[in-house]
C-alpha cells in the first residue's frame, strides 16, 4: 500500500531492527476516577465514575497491544491517561523508564513528541479551517523538528505519499475529502513527529468496510517500516485479531483477560471474553446457521455504582456465590495468559 516506501528512508531515526525489544510502556495500577458534583456555587462531590479502576499492562517495543471492550469500559480513558490528556487518580505510567504521571508540562513535551494518537472520528479530529498541509506542518513547527519551512514542506509531501495520499492534497481542506482520506491525514499528522508509540483509538470503526481494510494494511505497513509500537483500542474483535500481537479485554474499568492474540482467540477463558467472541456474527451464512451462540444477558452496569466483587458477576453464566464478594485477581493460568476469574 505504500506508494513510495523509500520516501522516508533518509530518516536514520527510523531504521531500527523490527524484532520485539525492551518494554516501552509500562502501566501499573492505573486508576482514573472522575468526580460527579452537584450544585453550582458550592460544588459538592456526590460520587465517582470509576472509568479505569486498577489496570496493569506493558507493551514492548515493536509490539501491538489490542485493548478491546464495549463502550464505557474505560479503554479510551486508559489511552488518554497514557497520553497525559488526563492526569490519573492513581498509578504509574512508565515510558522508556520515566514515570509520565510525575512529570510537569515542560518535561512532558519531549514525550508528547514520542507518543502520538490517531482518533476515531476523522470528521471531528481535523480542524475544518486548516488546510491538510498546515495541519501536518503545525506539530513539526511547534516541536521544532524542522526549522526550515521548505524542508518541512518537502516532508509533508513525503508523509502524504507514505500514507497513500496525493501530495497535492496538502492544499485541500478536510471537507473536500472522504472519511478514509481524512483518516490517512490523521495518520500522516501523527507520523510527522517521528513518534515511537502511537495510540490508535478506534481508528477504523467510523469507516466503511472496504476502506477499513485499506487503513488496516496501511497501519501494518507503517509499523513494519518504522518499527512503531501501537496500543490499538477497538471494539471490533476481528480487526483486533488481525492486527495485534497481544490482546487485553476490558470490562467496566478492569482488565479481565490478557493473552497472546492467537491464544486468546483459540482458547478464551474468561466468560466475558467468550461471550464477546460468540456475539460476533461471521460473514458466512453456512457457518452462522449452524453456529451455537451463547448470548450474555443483561447490560453493562454503570461505572458510578459498579457491582461488588467481580464486576461481571451479574451477567456471568458461571458465577458462584463468592463472585459477588471477592474481586478476582488477574492470575497467570498459562505462560502469558492472564485471567481475572476465580472459576476458570
Amino acid at each position: 500500500m505504500i506508494p513510495d516506501a523509500s520516501a522516508l528512508e533518509s530518516d536514520a531515526q527510523y531504521s531500527r531492527n523490527s524484532e520485539l525489544g525492551d518494554v516501552l510502556v509500562d502501566v501499573k495500577g492505573l486508576k482514573m476516577h472522575f468526580p460527579i458534583t452537584e450544585g453550582i456555587i458550592f460544588n459538592k462531590l456526590v460520587g465517582l465514575v470509576k472509568a479505569v479502576d486498577g489496570v496493569d499492562f506493558h507493551i514492548r517495543r515493536g509490539e501491538t497491544l489490542g485493548l478491546v471492550g464495549e463502550s464505557g469500559c474505560g479503554k479510551t480513558t486508559t489511552g488518554r491517561c497514557i497520553l497525559q490528556l488526563e492526569r490519573p487518580t492513581e498509578g504509574e505510567i512508565f515510558f522508556e523508564g520515566a514515570d509520565l504521571t510525575k512529570l510537569d508540562q515542560v518535561a512532558l513535551r519531549e514525550y508528547r513528541q514520542k507518543i502520538q494518537v490517531i482518533f476515531q472520528d476523522p470528521y471531528s479530529s481535523l480542524n475544518p479551517r486548516m488546510k491538510i498541509g498546515e495541519m501536518i506542518d503545525e506539530p513539526m513547527y511547534v516541536h521544532g523538528i524542522e526549522p526550515d519551512a521548505r524542508k518541512r514542506k518537502q516532508r509533508i509531501n513525503e508523509l502524504l505519499s507514505v500514507c497513500g495520499l496525493n501530495p497535492k492534497m496538502a492544499d485541500r481542506y478536510p471537507h473536500e475529502m472522504s472519511g478514509g482520506q481524512r483518516q490517512r491525514v490523521g495518520i500522516a499528522r501523527a507520523l510527522s513527529l517521528r513518534p515511537e508509540f502511537i495510540i490508535c483509538d478506534e481508528p477504523v470503526s467510523a469507516l466503511d468496510v472496504s476502506i477499513q481494510a485499506q487503513i488496516i494494511n496501511l497501519l501494518e505497513d507503517l509499523r513494519e517500516e518504522y518499527n512503531l509500537t501501537y496500543l490499538f483500542i477497538a471494539h471490533d474483535l476481528s480487526v483486533v485479531r488481525h492486527l495485534c500481537h497481544r490482546v487485553a479485554v476490558m470490562y467496566l474499568g478492569r482488565i479481565v483477560e490478557l493473552a497472546d492474540c492467537d491464544e486468546l482467540y483459540e482458547n478464551p477463558m474468561h466468560p466475558y471474553t467468550r461471550a464477546l467472541l460468540s456475539a460476533v456474527p461471521v460473514p458466512d451464512p453456512e457457518v452462522e446457521q449452524g453456529r451455537d451462540v451463547s448470548f450474555v444477558a443483561g447490560e453493562v452496569p454503570s461505572p458510578i455504582n459498579p457491582p461488588p466483587g467481580c464486576v461481571f458477576h451479574p451477567r456471568c453464566p458461571i458465577a458462584v456465590e463468592s463472585c459477588s464478594q471477592e474481586v478476582p485477581e488477574l492470575r497467570e493460568l498459562k505462560p502469558g495468559h492472564w485471567v481475572a476469574c476465580s472459576e476458570v
Binding site: 482520506q181 466503511d208 472496504s210 476502506i211 480487526v239 456475539a279 461471521v282 451464512p285 452462522e288 448470548f295
Partner: protein
C-alpha cells in the same frame, strides 16, 4: 402469491446546488410475506434513501422520487397523498432507525409514545393502549414495564431504547418492518441480543423485515435474501447462502475478502478494494464500480451492465459475471 412489497425502477434524486445526487438510481426488488431481506452497502450507496422512499419520508426539497413504483399490497405508495400514507406508515409498515438516542422524543414518556401510535392507528382508548404497551414492552424483554412506561428516554440505555423502538414498530401489528442499521450504534453483546429478539419476534408474528446494514456478519446470520447496493443501484441479489458462497459481482467479492474473519486462520494481509466510492453527482456512462474494479473490460466504460440472472434467483449486474471465478482462483 403476489409479493408484499414490490419496488420497481425506483429513482430518488436530490437536487442540490452541487448538482443532482442520484442517491437511488433505478432499483427494483421485492419482499415476500414473512421473509427477511437485507440491503447491504457502504455509506452513501443509497440504501437508507431507498427505505425512506418506501415510507414517504424523503425531505422535499431537496429530495424527490422522480420515477418508479412502490407497490405495497397492490397500492402504489408514491401515488398516495400525505394522509393516506400516514395510515400505512406505522400501521402497516413499522420502522426502526439507527439512532436509538434520537429517534425517541425526549420530552414524552415511553408509555405515551407507545400508546399514541395505538390510539391513532387502532382506535384504542388510553387504558387499553397502556395495557397493550406494557405487554409489548415485556415481549421485547424490558423489565418492570409498568414502571418503564412512566419513564423518559434518557432513563434508558441505548439497548433498552432500541427495544422500545422495536416494541413501537410491532405494536400495531404491521406486515412489514424496515430496520435501518438497527444495531450499528450498539455494543456487540447488545447487538446480538437485539438482533436475536428481532428475528424471533418477526418470525413468530409473521412480519416481513427489511434490514439495512453494512455489517456482512449480521446479514449472514439473519437474512434470507440479500440485495447488495453500490452507487444507487442494486448490483447483486440472491439467497444469502449463494451470495456468500459464490459472489458474482467484483464489489461483493471485494467486500467479502476485505473483512477479517474470526472463524478462519489469520491472514497475512487484508485484500481491500482500492480507491474511493464514486461521487453520485458525477456518474460516468459505464459501470460505476469500474474505477475500483480488478476485472474490468473495455465494455464496462461505455455500457451500464443490467441486473441479469446467473443462477437460481441469483442476479448480478456485471459484464464479467461469468468469468469472476477463474480470475479469483
Amino acid at each position: 402469491m403476489s409479493a408484499l412489497l414490490e419496488i420497481e425502477d425506483l429513482r430518488t434524486h436530490f437536487f442540490t446546488t452541487a448538482g443532482v445526487v442520484k442517491a437511488v438510481n433505478g432499483i427494483s426488488y421485492d419482499v415476500q410475506k414473512g421473509e427477511t431481506v437485507a440491503i447491504v452497502g457502504e455509506s452513501g450507496c443509497g440504501k437508507s434513501v431507498s427505505a425512506l422512499s418506501v415510507l414517504g419520508l424523503i425531505p422535499n426539497p431537496p429530495g424527490r422520487i422522480v420515477g418508479g413504483a412502490i407497490r405495497f399490497l397492490g397500492d402504489d405508495l408514491i401515488k398516495l397523498d400525505d394522509l393516506q400514507i400516514r395510515n400505512i406508515r406505522g400501521r402497516q409498515i413499522g420502522m426502526i432507525f439507527q439512532e436509538p438516542m434520537t429517534s425517541l422524543n425526549p420530552v414524552l414518556t415511553i408509555g405515551l409514545q407507545l400508546t399514541e401510535t395505538m390510539e391513532h392507528h387502532l382506535g384504542m382508548d388510553r387504558a387499553d393502549a397502556e395495557k397493550k404497551a406494557v405487554e409489548y414492552l415485556r415481549l421485547v424483554g424490558i423489565s418492570e414495564p409498568e414502571r418503564r412506561i412512566r419513564q423518559y428516554p434518557h432513563h434508558l440505555s441505548g439497548g433498552m431504547r432500541q427495544r422500545v423502538m422495536i416494541a413501537m414498530a410491532l405494536c400495531c401489528e404491521p406486515k412489514l418492518i424496515i430496520a435501518d442499521e438497527p444495531t450499528t450504534a450498539l455494543d456487540v453483546t447488545i447487538q446480538a441480543q437485539i438482533l436475536e429478539l428481532m428475528k424471533n419476534l418477526t418470525k413468530r408474528m409473521g412480519v416481513a423485515l427489511i434490514i439495512i446494514t453494512h455489517n456482512l456478519g449480521v446479514v449472514a446470520r439473519y437474512a434470507d435474501r440479500v440485495n447488495v447496493m453500490y452507487a444507487g443501484k442494486i448490483i447483486e441479489r440472491g439467497l444469502a447462502a449463494d451470495i456468500y458462497r459464490e459472489p458474482r459481482h467484483p464489489y461483493t467479492l471485494g467486500l467479502l475478502s476485505s473483512v477479517p474473519r474470526l472463524d478462519q486462520p489469520r491472514q497475512k494481509r487484508l485484500d481491500p478494494i482500492d480507491g474511493q466510492p464514486p461521487d453520485l453527482t458525477r456518474l460516468g456512462a459505464g459501470c460505476s464500480f469500474l474505477p475500483r474494479c480488478k476485472f474490468a473490460v473495455d465494455k464496462c466504460a461505455s455500457e451500464i451492465p443490467p441486473l441479469e440472472t446467473v443462477g437460481n434467483g441469483h442476479l448480478s449486474a456485471c459484464w464479467e459475471k461469468e468469468n469472476l471465478e477463474m480470475v479469483k482462483g
